[in-house]
Amino acid sequence: MSATLHGKVAIVGAADTEVGVITHMGATQLCVDAILRALTDAGIDKEAVDGLVTCNSMVEPYMYHAEAVAEYLRVFPRYCVSIGAGGGTTFTALHQAASAIASGICHTVVIAMADNIRSGLSRERALAIQSSSGHPQFERPYGAPVAGYYALIAWAHMHEFGTTPEQLAAVAVSTRKHAVRNPTAQMRTPISVEDVLNSRLIADPLHLLDCSLVSDGGAAIVMTSADRARDFRQPPVYLLGVGEGHRHEHISQARSLTTSAAADSGRRAYEMAGVRPRDIDFAELYDCFTPVVLIELEDLGFCAKGEGGPFVAAGSIEPGGPLPVNTHGGLLSHCHPGNPGSMFALTEAVLQLRAQAGERQLAKAEIALVHGQGGIMSSHCTVILGREKNR
């Protein structure tokens, strides 16, 4: 094995802001609020932070976002960067921050992301921004909303493997079952497959309830070297493996519509962690639209290629299933403030691994897999976390 981050760093603080519809704070305030909460959770002062990683806000963008947040906090980090990889940003940021710590650039990094696209943007503007990942000359003129881009992969999956709209709906239904158990989730009313199929068609075959939420909120984590992790007040959560995969930017350039670079990122993360899919107790997967979860389950090796639909319809990812997925409620039911969305998957994984997840605490939570993807199945990053430093 070449240079590896296995067991080198740990998450020692994690916190979310309020999420949903937040009208009393702007995007920058939410980001700072998340940082203050994560520092409290870790039991450290802001002066202990020597690295800061953020992602830009759509509502309150800065030319240099991380610099602006550092200035707001009045901290003077030696490593300060904002990262943009769409929905994959969270884990790409974690990969970068872990590398910075492991190589000695800095010791204690805060990763913080927040936005308020629900309250801070008009509906029309939010739609336009979300679809702006389309190529300006060769995709956007054709008028697909972001759901339309993902519908292209959904239909390809249905055509190739016989996946059904009911199986897509089962992803939303399973996720809502988890959200019902999470008091902070934005949507907590149980839904059925029929509810999903009876909701308005947005872009065939995707219905409204196949689509994630539009929300306000943010979250932050504190990460440090494994050697120092025991000095903090929370039980450390160790990074066991991380890997990325990148195959395209625009969906019209994708080599495959039904196999994604999650296959690459997953393979790299498993290899570093020294674990296999069957060793994973629970997963937090990127669920901006229901078909994405099916493809991730397949590409990350939890079921065979093309079997994602039957796997989910059998209840596999529900509470009590063999692989609980998105135990906080995911982007579909917990909250989705844009690029920061995966942060909540990360903070949820930390809570579960610390056994602090309240009534939704899983009986077995020793190894977690979290995965983010950004663009239209473009940038992928898989992270494997554990309660113990070594596997």
């Binding site: 060769f138 003129p141 008028g143 697909a144 292209l152 390809a156 872009a203």
Partner: protein, 138 residues
């Protein structure tokens, strides 16, 4: 004043001007590598297969098949609302490259993966025509 909402209008660059000029003549142009004969779309300064720089713009047959599609029921913006429901599709051209477009000239429910299509041009303004596709009936 009520300014009418505008669609996302492509703005040609030095790299894509020749493509859009072709469209204005109702010709679909793609690139062919003079060294390895690979076709590619969108226009680039290099061949993605052999990294060669000897690329030529050639006229594509304009025929292809649908790789995937969706029927948009909720328009991306007001400018597209009048056309709902409309089809956005990925078309694999006979020469190999894939591009995104709309499928027009048929009932949306008739559209299916594998359907043969041919290019047709939608004139948006003087000098700007957008390549779209319609069912190809031999």
């Amino acid at each position: 004043v009520n300014v009418p909402p505008t669609k996302f209008v492509p703005v040609p660059t030095a790299e894509t001007a020749e493509f859009w000029e072709g469209c204005s003549r109702h010709e679909l142009l793609i690139q062919r590598c003079a060294d390895c004969a690979a076709y590619q779309f969108y226009p680039r300064i290099m061949c993605v297969v052999c990294s060669g720089r000897a690329l030529q713009m050639v006229r594509a047959s304009g025929r292809g098949v649908l790789k995937s599609f969706t029927i948009v029921r909720r328009a991306v913006s007001e400018a597209y609302a009048a056309e709902v429901p409309y089809v956005v599709a990925l078309i694999e051209l006979e020469e190999g490259p894939t591009l995104m477009s709309n499928v027009i000239g048929c009932v949306v429910d008739e559209v299916c993966i594998g359907m043969p299509v041919e290019v047709v041009f939608d004139d948006w303004s003087e000098g700007l025509s957008i390549p779209k596709f319609r069912p190809f009936r031999a």
